[in-house]
Amino acid sequence: MQHSSTRQVLVGALVALAVGVLLIGGVLRVARLTVVRGATEQNAVVTAASVSQVLAQVRAADGDLQAVARGLVDRLEDVDRIRVIDSGKRLLAASTDAADLTAGEVPRRLGREEKAWFDQAKELEANHRTNISEGNARKDEILRMAVAQSQLELVLPLFAGDTVDGSVQVLTSAVVPRVPGPRLLPLAVVAGAFLVLVALSVLLKGRWLFAGGLVLLVVGLWAFAALGLAGLAAVRHDVEAAIAHHALEVRDAVGLEAPGTTLDITAWNVDRFGAPRGTFDRAGTVATETVDAGLAEGGRRFGQAAGLLGVFALVIYYWVGAGWTVRTWQALRKHHTAYGFVLPAMIGMIVLVFFPFAYGVVLSFTNQTLYNVNQPLYDLWVGIDNYIDILSDVAVWHTGEDGSRIINFQNFYWTLGFTILWTVSNVSIGVSLGLILALILNTKNLAFRPFYRIILILPWAVPNYITALIWKGMFHRQFGVINQVIAMFGGEPIAWFDAWHTSFFAVLATNAWLSFPFMMVVSLGALQAISSDLYEAARVDGASRWQQFWFVTLPSIKPALVPAVILSVVWTFNMFNIIYLVSQGEPAGATEILITDAYKIAFEQYRYGYAAAYSVVIFLILMIYGVWQNRVTRATEGI
């Protein structure tokens, strides 16, 4: 802990409290607006559902639909227009719209340009049937048509018994429930916490004051969030009561218009899928437990958000309170030339490397896809579900009906195992081939040495995407030159990408071809740097050639070889181009490595959140490897 002055602690606490209150208060405000907007819509749903229920009963009793519809528009203040569609008979059964009536008396056949209404009714019918047959509610049973700002048009199913055979379109004007404004108590608590800190500053100094400020900050912000959430819950209860009250008013009005119908206000209180919300009973009494249960989920999410914002406020407090702002400012002034030189590159790195990395990590905790990319991440938060999904699926194979093992190539552990196999075999081949060639090229008095060297380095110079596509062509089943060679020796052509081991061979051959020159060049450089005195001494001591290699050559080239091996492990582990272009994961994703799998999840399945979690797992694997490697090869430190 740095020395912190009383002033710094107080300023830090004040700034942190202000930021915390602004941010958490902002979240509360948005939540409050959402609740009110939802309640406004629910009022419209209640009204429209009452209309639909009444009209269904009138129709069943062969009453005059048009007259009742007109009466309802008169009696219900928030209903501006009613249209009834009978999809069975393709009729416009009733309408209070002046334009509809000038086009012809109702009931009448639907006109050609009115087909959209018939389609809506059919859609609702199909959705209702799906919801019933599946036993859950996931298809919309209430369609929302956006109209003007203060108006909402709802389309509801018109029931005949248990089945849908028409729709009711109800244009409603908004009934906004009245709710109490935000309370001042939470703000007062925060102000109180700050005043306590001011008082404390007389008694405490330095780090004790800083610690006291920390405690008061946590308590103050926690209290602010908790009181705000309680206020929000109260608002929620208020609006539910308002909706129930609205339902009772509607029932009274409808009862006057259509006496003798059975009116059930709980059947009007449904969500968009037609499932009852159950927030009040037939008498209009709010069911507190149901409302509270709905609040719990929202409260949990709010808690997470408030926690994050609180941590942010604490960081600010630490930064200011511990004197970091002052020192940051001083450092900036003192070293402004240096920072000026670093700034352009650093901005680029932050914007296009570090920020995307952090953003990717955040994404990995969401279920973002192409289709919800515009929604705020907060709404898509799924915690560690993606990671659990990826890591908990350990069923690499299942047993088929005939008792054979069927491998699930999409499984994470299969892909991980394949990636490790791919990396280990490639690096082993690369290192041994490169080392052998380097030893040969290092032979004294070997003829044509420069010629061999320049030829053998060629594969490194070819861009690897071109290499990949060339080998893909050479492994072509019908026309590929490798199958021609096999045919030349009298063999049968092989469908290289139809079985995972032949497919693996193909990508392995490709990668071996392009990766051995790097190892060769590194080894050759190291070999040439070994002093010939060492061999001289070894020969004098009677060492065999093998012993010379083992005790002189290998230890001498190890410092150059180890970093090269580490590099090529990381390169090969993430060697996207070869897999993506040569085998394309064939057959059935068996030869996918982790990085190509992640790419396909992101850009072929468009599951951004899941792909991000997959990539974080890859990153962690590489980190673990890096740490382990660092420990094992401690000998190379300090070079």
Partner: protein
């Protein structure tokens, strides 16, 4: 080692080396053969239904039945390959300029100044090399395409490539700047020169070889890159050469191996020559960076 043994041993070594040379050169001859065949087929010759052994051997000899430049002409006139090459060139040149500028200034500061955050900055550059491409790919796609609306646009790709190349270039240049004696700058400081003047007038002219290598590396990064271009550039006339070459043979449509081969040679030849000429410097920078990590 006696001379007698040497000669006998060398025969085996040459034999092994010759096999390796054949394996190494064959794919390159293969692509040349397909390119100069004037056709789109993978086969070098048309085999009869029941070929003789000689015909089968002819079928794997990398030499076209007739020499033709048709593929080279067609890839520019019938296909938009010239446009793709131009896209690649624009992006690569701009990346080189931006990348070298950013790397030179940062590398100089890391080499010459001692300031808070210097070590953290350098380490963060190094660690950024471990980020898997796909982790940043999705956010980058969202940032470049959804937020900045720079999909299928030179600027988006240039920004991405320039920052991708920064860490290696900064480390490489910093290493070189470290070898320039400080006395040069100190005497200039005595004469009243500002840090900017020292950097532009003294350090940069002295570092031409290192700057050249950095420029080459930036250029090759941009010229050969495939995944980012595939993701960001989705309009056909904005493809870069790598994406375009894959377009010839990657899709479900008819595969045009002749165009691919001819285009590959045009796209790869400049960088291959550059690489072979300058490889020693690149390898030096690569291993030096790795050891420091």
């Amino acid at each position: 080692m006696s001379n007698r043994n040497e000669t006998v041993g060398h025969v085996w070594l040459h034999l092994f080396l010759i096999i390796m040379v054949i394996v190494t050169v064959y794919p390159i001859l293969w692509v040349l053969t397909v390119a100069f065949s004037g056709q789109q087929e993978l086969m070098f010759v048309n085999l009869p239904a029941d070929p003789s052994l000689w015909q089968r051997i002819r079928a794997v000899m990398p030499w076209p039945e007739q020499m033709s430049l048709q593929n080279f002409l067609d890839v520019f006139s019938q296909q938009p390959f010239g446009r793709w090459l131009l896209n690649s060139a624009m992006v690569a040149v701009a990346t080189t300029i931006a990348g070298v500028f950013l790397a030179c200034t940062a590398g100089y500061a890391f080499s010459r100044f001692r300031f808070p955050g210097r070590r953290a900055g350098m380490m963060s550059f190094l660690i950024s090399q471990m980020f898997p491409g796909t982790l940043t790919l999705v956010p980058l796609y969202i940032i470049i395409v959804e937020w900045l609306h720079l999909g299928s646009n030179y600027l988006g790709l240039i920004m991405l490539y320039a920052t991708t190349a920064i860490p290696f270039c900064v480390w490489n240049l910093k290493g070189y700047f470290d070898t320039i004696p400080r006395e040069l700058e100190e005497s200039a400081l005595m004469d009243g020169a500002s840090p900017a003047v020292i950097f532009w007038k003294i350090i940069l002219p002295l570092s031409k070889p290192a700057v050249a290598v950095t420029a080459l590396f930036s250029f090759m990064t941009a010229w050969n890159e495939f995944v980012l271009a595939l993701t960001i550039m989705d309009k056909e006339n904005m493809y870069t050469a790598p994406v375009g070459l894959r377009f010839f043979v990657g899709g479900y449509a008819e595969q045009q191996w002749g165009y691919f081969a001819a285009g590959s040679i045009v796209a790869a030849l400049p960088v291959m020559i550059l690489f072979l000429v300058l490889q020693r410097y690149l390898i030096g920078g690569l291993t030096a960076g790795a050891v420091k990590g």
